[in-house]
Symmetry: C2
Subunit: 195 residues, 2 copies
DNA sequence: AGTTGAAGTGGACTATAGTCCGGTTATGGA
DNA sequence: TCCATAACCGGACTATAGTCCACTTCAACT
């Protein structure tokens, strides 16, 4: 009887295919742009059938999430256990500003992938694990710095201002510096907390 | 020679078809839910060919935008020339709070249509006329109430907190009241302006 | 009313996402 | 080593968005 909650180890062939798919997708997306790459071509480049691709990742959005997951781990590590001011050690206000800068940077860099990952069911962003992680992080810092605030709600607002849609939609119009300034102003105003 | 910048009046047959398409789409979307309605069936129900449908509205997102446009006019009228506190006459802070409530309500009611209208090219929301209108409105009120603020940026943040994606993603988790409270808190904090 | 050409029309066509299921293979136990 | 079984594989299949272009119709101007 298999141990509950601890599924058997992934089969060796499945692991090989998973890795092949991820690498092929990464390469093709970089070469041609995500929207120009069909799932068929990803499967072909990875040397697997279409069924395998969809079985593993559900749909194109799922594939994007898997790809982002790898890239996001780096930022997560820096935030959870890296050096201050991003990591622990600095006062919450400084950490918040540092996080905002880093996150805007991250979103800018991976905007196309993020956009695809949020395609499909509406509100998908709010259900994936990483959003919850960032939300907890921001809410904790806000609550720490400014107890009068409803930090849960404020954290959602801060993250909304850094959503992939906002960043891609306004980057062209405002430029990276001004975009960052907007988020920093938002964070500052929450931290000042004269509500 | 046709007058530049003032395109000829829409041809009568085109107007008839446009109206037929809009009405058919409205009915089908209400009956079956947007995602379950194919563009083919909209065309068939309207009694036009597929080519006509796509020529007029570009794609499914364009059709959604056209449908929203009608519904949005009501809110626009109330904001631009209706009675206070939503319309002119009340102090800017009050108008802002009133707008936030009304807009969250609007987004909640039309979330599926808004989601479809933002599908497709990323950042589509920021290019359609109505976003620019709301942004100008919010920015003007913020600038009026709190001159220290960078009102342009703050207005984007306020609208981001009320995007269709945020509302659909968090409505289930937080509920309508708490969602509204979050936006009200955001507005209050900007108005307090201790940045 | 007749002419003319621009705007509009419709349905066949292509490309792609995502489903399904019969056949195959890895894995753990005897 | 061999067996039973559950997971995995792959490609044919379906449904739908969106394109294209030869044909039709409207309306402005004689």
């Amino acid at each position: 009887m298999p141990v509950v909650g601890q599924p058997r180890r992934e089969r060796a062939d499945a692991a090989r295919n998973r890795s092949a798919i991820l690498h092929a997708a990464e390469r093709l997306f970089a070469e041609r742009g995500i929207s120009a790459v069909s799932m068929d071509s990803v499967a072909a480049a990875a040397g697997v059938g279409k069924g395998t691709l969809f079985r593993r990742f559900g749909d194109k959005a799922g594939l994007a999430v898997a790809l982002l997951d790898e890239r996001e781990r780096e930022l997560q590590a820096a935030v959870l256990s890296g050096p201050p001011p991003l990591g622990p050690g600095a006062p919450p206000g400084e950490r918040l500003h540092a996080f905002a800068s880093a996150y805007v940077e991250f979103v800018s860099r991976h905007a196309p992938l993020l956009h695809v990952s949020e395609t499909g069911s509406p509100g998908a962003r709010y259900r994936i694990g990483s959003y919850r992680l960032w939300h907890r992080h921001v809410a904790a810092l806000l609550a720490d710095a400014q107890p009068d605030l409803d930090a849960e709600l404020a954290a959602h607002a801060v993250l909304a201002a850094m959503s992939a849609d906002v960043v891609t939609g306004l980057l062209g119009e405002l430029g990276a510096d001004r975009l960052r300034a907007g988020v920093q102003q938002l964070v500052s105003v929450y931290l000042a907390g004269c509500a």
